[in-house]
Amino acid sequence: MRLTMDQRNMIARRAAKEIVPGMAVNLGIGIPELVADFIPNEWHVMFHSVNGILGVGPTPIQGEEDQHISNAGGAPVTIVPGASYFDSTVAYGMIRRRKLDVAFIGALQVNRRGDLANWIVPGTRVHGIGGGAELAFYAKKVIVLMSHVTLSGEPKIRRECTFPLTAKGCVDLIVTERAVIEVTPEGLMLTEVMYPYSLQDVIYHTGAPLLISEHLQMVE
């Protein structure tokens, strides 16, 4: 199922709640890029881009883009006060030194242990591993933002990933248009169900066993 822009924004808005002021945050390509729009400026969150920016700001007003300020996806951005530019080895140095508090990342599949697959669909189009493996492995908290099911309706949250893994046991939280699911040592814990989906719908479209949180919220 292809997500609507509204659904993508809803995922991003929910994801933004995981951020607290002062954090350093990496936004992957796709839905993660939208998260920045839901973070107040005065929180002084420093957005990190692997091409070499710490302190990415909002999308520029049309006509005022600087062709040489862009995020890793190539989209024009701005910078905030305190931002710096550096080469990609420094960008990844920050990642490996575990300076990033949260990485929001897209996914093809996540399994019940928090393994992440997001770099290749065998036999079809090849993207390449990109920076996903390092972000997923080293960020203090990894939050997957994705559609709950594939275009053909298959669950993306599965008992086991069928695609090659990007990183093992790295995912802490999954946010989709239908649900928020925590990866816990006991397994996947459903904590929120998004309107208009039902608990039954989420369970039905999830390919792995779900623990239901005693604080389960039905989000309007």
């Binding site: 530019y85 550096f86 080895t89 770099w119 093992k168």
Partner: protein, 200 residues
Amino acid sequence: MYGGFGTIGSPALLIDALLQKGVRDLTLIGIDAGYPDVGIGKLISHGRVKKLLTTHIGSNPEAGQQMMDGRLAVTFCPQGIFAEKIRAGGVGIPGILVDARMWGEATDGREAVLFEGKPCWMEPALTADVGIVYAKQADTYGNLIYDKSARNLNPLVAMAAEITIAEVEEIVPAGELDPEKIVTPGIFVDYMVNRSGGNS
């Protein structure tokens, strides 16, 4: 070997020149494959490339197609390790050690060595015969200053190539650049092409 990330900081004129010169059977080393009609991707679309060492080709379906057809040999490497490997080439060390646990399943199945209690891989440095980079300003000695996020891989590539060619917006006399602001010392730069005309 080429600088740039997507089209940002990509030496567009030098890529066009390679295309016009009819160079073929290239081995390319760079962070991505650009787009089919923009940046380094042009060389791929025109069938000039036989090998590509990169991290990601998602923005260039033509590269993916050639890879599937067996016309283009693509080797992937995680992006941060890839950048470090070019830097290692640039400072003349034979290689780096990387944490094998990070690499998920994007591997060729090789064995890790145990180093200081961690499974590690020995990753060879990357160097190239020729490197093409884009910079904002140069001085006549070849010192380079980049522009914002157009820096990305360019300073690494500038150091890692035997012959480095810089495409620059402007060339000023030596002494006019703030020496604190210079990112690539001129000793690493062999040739410069001025975007506004005139080589050096």
